[in-house]
């Protein structure tokens, strides 16, 4: 059995949904369909989920929400009309959404969670009707119905491990297709709570694990995951196959194709993921598999990069003699609610790398002040722009020359390194460069190992 998840662009309008129907019909193993809320139809269009968050704001502010309602239902009405559905379904959905706005919530953020989840809920209702209209026997199930219970962290729900045993008991008839709304679960108190944004990927992975699927197909709008950012390199090499660990390392540094947290249930359930393109379903896409199932180890599987970092450099003689030094730094960070990305330490020096988002609202200034006062460094310097490149490949493990393969092309391109970190993970090399060198460095590493959209022969 395959769990199949379709993203927002795959469900944005009638034409896209026709492609979904064709994909589901073409393979009888596609039995559980996880749907997102309708996404953008064109550049500048608004996603239903964003409109629903606007609606939540209007409700909380006691403003008139009619215009927002109209924008939301215009989308669903178009889809219903495209498939000539009974208009009664729209009336039902409107009543349903109105009831959600009228419910009482323990806090504003749970009101936002409940409303933002309705894009997926209404999608599932509509797609179920569409499938039945076109002759696919479809039944909608919900998190409530199958016991998909989540934690109470509002809008950052985590699946509760006990859910899997309940999900496993779900009965699915041989001749039916299940339609399931992505993005949300139900707390033990019965509240709707959403995963982090893009969380329909997580729903699909949870169902794949809970139902012990053979494969989790994740349909999106690209033919595959690429070995390098297509914005930096023309005709980039597709990744045909990679391990869960490789995906984790790459997604960290900016590969946004697949939701970070969605990997975990797939890993736990040992279920391969296939990223495919709704608009081009013939393409094999990218298989993400456990290490034991990997058929070919790439020297380098992918190169990711991001430049939204800042770093602080602290120098103090005999820093490593100072008992509890790192603990003091961690305490300051915890007090200021700042999380850090990476903290390379040396004999007399430590560098701490942050996502810039962590340093807004005066927190950078407070952090600087507390370090000055409590650590009393001999030198303290901010590096305000910091890019990180992540080179990932199962074939890096223990390989002689792996580091040279990465740093020699950068040298030849005239790029100097501000940081190198290898050894925590065996399958990745993390490099720091100046932001102005980021694209040049990524291209140099890529060109040394790939050509014409393929890994070079000797790789």
């Amino acid at each position: 059995m395959k769990i199949v998840k379709f993203g927002g662009s795959s469900l944005a309008n009638g034409d896209q949904i026709l492609k979904v129907i064709k994909i589901v019909k073409s393979d009888p193993a596609r039995r559980v369909i996880v749907v997102s809320a309708p996404g953008k139809r064109f550049s500048g269009d608004r996603k239903i989920t964003d409109l629903l968050l606007d609606l939540a704001q209007a409700v909380l502010n006691r403003e008139d929400p009619q215009d927002i309602y109209d924008s939301i239902f215009q989308r669903y009405t178009q889809i219903a009309a495209f498939f000539q559905l009974d208009p009664e379904i729209l009336t039902e959905l409107k009543t349903h959404l109105f009831q959600i706005t009228q419910a009482s919530y323990p806090s504003d953020v749970f009101c936002q969670a409940a409303l933002s989840a309705q894009g997926e809920y209404m999608s599932a209702r509509l797609i179920t009707a569409v499938f039945n209209q076109v002759g696919l026997k479809a039944r909608m199930l919900t998190p409530m119905a199958i016991g998909m219970t989540v934690s109470k962290e509002a809008r950052n729900a985590q699946i509760l491990p006990a859910s899997y045993a309940k999900i496993a008991q779900t009965k699915i008839a041989d001749d039916e297709i299940i339609i399931f709304p992505g993005f949300f679960g139900i707390t033990k108190d019965g509240l709707i709570n959403t995963f982090s944004r893009g969380g329909s990927d997580i729903t699909g992975a949870i169902l794949a694990r809970g139902l012990d699927a053979d494969l989790y197909e994740n349909f999106t709008d690209v033919d595959s995951i690429y070995a390098v950012n297509p914005k930096l390199v023309d005709n980039p090499a597709p990744i045909h196959e990679m391990t869960f660990s490789e995906m984790r390392e790459l997604s960290y540094a900016g590969f946004a194709v697949f939701h970070d947290e969605a990997i975990l249930p797939a890993i736990e359930g040992n279920i391969p993921i296939n990223v495919k393109n709704t608009n081009h379903p013939e393409a094999a896409g990218t298989m993400i598999v456990p290490r034991a199932r990997l058929t070919h180890k790439n020297k380098i599987t992918g190169i990711a990069s991001a430049n939204h970092f800042q770093a602080i450099y602290i120098h103090r003689y005999l820093i490593n003699r100072q008992v509890g030094f790192t603990a003091s730094i961690l305490k300051i960070l915890a007090d200021l609610n700042i999380s850090y990305e990476h903290m390379p330490s040396g004999i007399d020096d430590i560098t701490i790398i942050f996502d810039k988002k962590q340093l807004t609202g005066g927190r950078k200034e407070k952090l600087t002040q507390r370090i000055q006062e409590e650590i009393q460094p001999d030198a303290l310097e901010w590096k305000n722009d910091y890019a990180i490149i992540m080179v990932v490949g199962e074939g890096l493990i223990n390989r002689v020359g792996a580091m040279s393969d990465v740093v020699d092309p950068m040298r030849d391109a005239g790029v100097s390194l501000t940081m190198v970190n290898q050894g925590a993970s065996e399958i990745s090399i993390m490099l720091g460069v100046k932001p102005e060198d980021e694209a040049k460095a990524v291209r140099a590493i890529y060109d040394a190992h790939f050509e014409n959209g393929h890994a070079k022969k000797e790789d």
Copy 2:
């Protein structure tokens, strides 16, 4: 004015002391002489400091110490006879040492501190007499006399910052030479307390700073500090000049020429250090200078290595989402009183590198157990043998190709890397290799940048 420190081998016997006299006479700026206890005269000989620690043990155990006394005074008697000193001085020293054994101490470790310091004290007494005997006007000063006050951490004394102002007031006549015992200071309570072993280097550096010397000369038994361990490479290149920071980074990974903590007062006082050879004082030795005074930046100044490390590798998916994860690890380490060397962290992985000494007495097993219980990693693996290579050079900073210069020779020698850490300190690259690859890797990096005892021209 120059502060001049002579190590144990320079004061081991009469012939060596004649060299010291010649060195002091040859330069009138050599005004303050810091002396160690007599060291080994030959391989297998015992150092006076070790004999004094035996004496302390005998005193604490209420055993008969006569044999140990005899061994100690045999050495001083030989020196006194060599210079035909008045035998009365030996009687004085014996009485002095006996009084030290009879004093009461707040703890056994302060008894050990007080006795182990007497090697330097008696050396200073004897050298003062020798100098006066050979026509050098010498006067002995002590930590007590000049206010060299230290902390109460027994046998690991730290200088108290207030000492420097007192030391600065020391009056030295134009025509006299000061002889000063190394290795110990006086606590505020008047107790003798020693620096860590080899601490005469520290005494010299403290006096150099306190007296605002122009130069701190550190006489030992090698012509210079070498760019690489002479046990690994024949005819290694001498280091003519390096910065304080380079010395710190190199000494960390096994360069034992100069005491680690002795750098700090020199840095604070901005006082250059000259490491020279008592047996070959014509050689220029190695100058250790502040960065601003460096006359030539080496691409690579030195390569150090050590193999007394173990590492634990911990893998857990979404480790970086777990709030307080690093803090939990630090707490376990603090509870078990284990200090770590280095902790490279990745997305789902962390490696912690320890000095093997930190993991004895069941602490490794306890650490493993607590990490298993409290961190619940998906994978945990010990790497029981781990070598670290440190490549150091001011010329590494921001230089394109710096990493290639280090890792390409290792690739060519067939060495794979288990860890690379660059970026905390800008002047060093830390590399992990298997212990069996340590010598091969060091030689490969050295041979790529040095030949015939000199840096290659292009470097």
